[in-house]
């Protein structure tokens, strides 16, 4: 926790200090892990509303006559199916299927898109994109000029509606509106997306107005019980909702089909795309391992990297990708990349937790659905 290495900071850094947040190094960014406690913030999002600073996430602008065809070559989902003011979840893979990143593409107009990347991957993504650029397109990493707040929870819409004349009920899941005025701040992109398993919005705006919007949202949501939230509960929330995290469920060492995000892989799209040959073959043959949910029936909490064994303890069948004691369900749960021979719901397995083999069983995911 020493401050010797130069960590990047979002425009809200001074607010963290004011609110006495506990800070961590998250992929090279000095970010709040919690403002009060992870469990308290977790429940606030499930029951009321929580506000997250996610300005560390990257935005890459892809613009030009060939933007659509280039993106369609670059990612696994079918970009031609994405309409203006709609967002699409997708993956970018290597020819061998390894996942470079997962992200959301926003179609701003017919020839203009944003790619919103994982903070730790932004530079890697940008380099990969520049290496493969084709046709009449301009690519710009605009991450530093854009801030992002996530307002999540069942009361998110009621809170945000107090600050804007735009009818939020018209922005349905995975759609967005551009140029919205929120709390007197112009040109906010309001997107009904999130990473918590709750209803809510992600708000993109000029980096130098983020602090102002943060304050106004916290003020507007007072009666609804809004809480400033850190990345700690963002992780437990997305985990319960079965949403993959890059570096845990998603890796360059396996494919999106194995990682459980096959819904974002369209091997049947007509045009060629990077990884198509591999993914089409893997899909036809069937994956040999996949991400499953595990519930610990013994005592212990699964954590990233722990080994998983067959029920008789003789065969190593995979590893835990994420795990915690679920704040909503009170159970000790894990996500694991397991051999498909042991991946059926109800299969008993063992997790090596320190020196012990602890009983667990494969369960359905997501663990939580609103």
């Amino acid at each position: 926790m020493s401050a010797e290495t130069q960590l990047k900071r979002t425009p809200l850094f001074e607010k963290y200090k004011e609110l006495n947040a506990k800070l961590i190094d998250f992929g090279g960014w000095e970010m709040p892990v919690q403002f009060s406690t992870i469990i308290e913030e977790h429940h606030a999002v499930r029951n009321d509303a929580g506000l997250f600073d996610v300005s560390h996430m990257g935005e890459i602008l892809v613009e030009g006559k060939d933007a659509e065809s280039f993106l369609n070559y670059l990612v696994t989902n079918d970009v031609t199916k994405c309409q203006v003011n709609k967002a699409q979840y997708t993956a970018m893979v290597k020819p061998d299927g390894g996942i470079i990143d997962d992200f959301i593409i926003y179609k701003l107009d017919e020839q203009k898109y944003w790619i919103v990347t994982n903070a730790a991957n932004t530079d890697k993504d940008y380099e990969w994109i520049m290496q493969h650029v084709k046709g009449d397109v301009t690519v710009k990493n605009i991450s530093d000029s854009i801030g992002q707040l996530a307002l999540q929870g069942p009361k998110a819409e009621a809170i945000l509606q107090k600050l804007t004349d735009t009818d939020l009920s018209e922005i349905t899941f995975y759609r967005f509106a551009q140029g919205v005025e929120v709390a007197g701040i112009p040109d906010v992109l309001v997107s009904r997306t999130g990473y918590t398993g709750e209803d809510g919005f992600e708000l993109y705006l000029a980096a130098d107005r983020v602090t102002e919007l943060w304050d106004k949202l916290l003020e507007a949501g007072k009666d609804e019980g809004i809480k400033p939230c850190g990345l700690g509960c963002r992780d437990t929330l997305r985990f319960e909702a079965g949403l993959a995290l890059y570096g845990n469920e998603l890796s360059e060492d396996w494919s999106p089909l194995e990682a459980g995000i096959g819904f974002a892989v369209k091997v049947d799209k007509e045009v060629d795309f990077i990884g198509k040959e591999f993914l089409a073959k893997q899909k036809a043959e069937g994956v040999k391992r996949k991400i499953v949910g595990l519930e610990v029936t013994g005592r212990g909490i699964p954590r990233n990297g722990y080994k998983v064994f067959s029920a008789d303890g003789t065969e190593e069948i995979g590893h835990i990708t994420s795990g915690t004691k679920s704040p909503t369900l009170g159970k000790q749960l894990g996500l694991a990349l397991l051999s498909v021979d042991h991946a059926e719901v109800g299969t008993e397995v063992k997790i090596q937790i320190r020196k012990k083999l602890v009983d667990a069983v494969v369960v359905k995911k997501p663990f939580y659905k609103r």
Partner: protein, 127 residues
């Protein structure tokens, strides 16, 4: 808390008898860990050397080892923590105690910090 001694690994030690101590983790440690949701301790009768593991405390986010500040035999384990691990957050010096150890080398107590020295250690950013 005048009688408490501390290790640089953030355990506290309370001397109960000449050669018997109670051990837990400091208020600073529980605050750094955040919500504690699981505690697993060694069994009664285990012999431990100084700096060996007494068990694990887990927060929502991660697992941390507890290092024994002294050598000896574990003669009692706080079994309440199995069902109420949050006691470590709520009352780290009372209900959140972890084990009692019969000392094999009472001299080791002299190597521990008193409360003022421990506070100074934390303020210096001791990890």
């Amino acid at each position: 808390m005048a009688n408490l001694l501390f290790s640089k690994e953030h355990e506290w030690v309370l001397q109960l008898e000449d050669n018997k101590v109670r051990v837990g983790i400091s208020d600073y440690a529980q605050d750094q860990l955040g919500d504690i949701v699981f505690v697993e301790l060694v069994e009664e009768g285990t012999e431990v050397e100084k700096d060996e593991s007494l068990g694990t405390v887990e927060s929502v986010k991660s697992a941390s080892e507890i290092y024994s500040p002294v050598s000896g035999t574990v003669v009692a384990v706080n079994e309440d923590l199995e069902d109420e691990p949050e006691k470590v957050n709520e009352e780290p010096y009372e209900g959140g105690w972890m084990v009692e150890i019969e000392l094999s080398n009472p001299e080791e107590l002299k190597e521990l910090l008193d409360e003022d020295a421990y506070k100074a250690f934390i303020e210096e950013g001791g990890e």
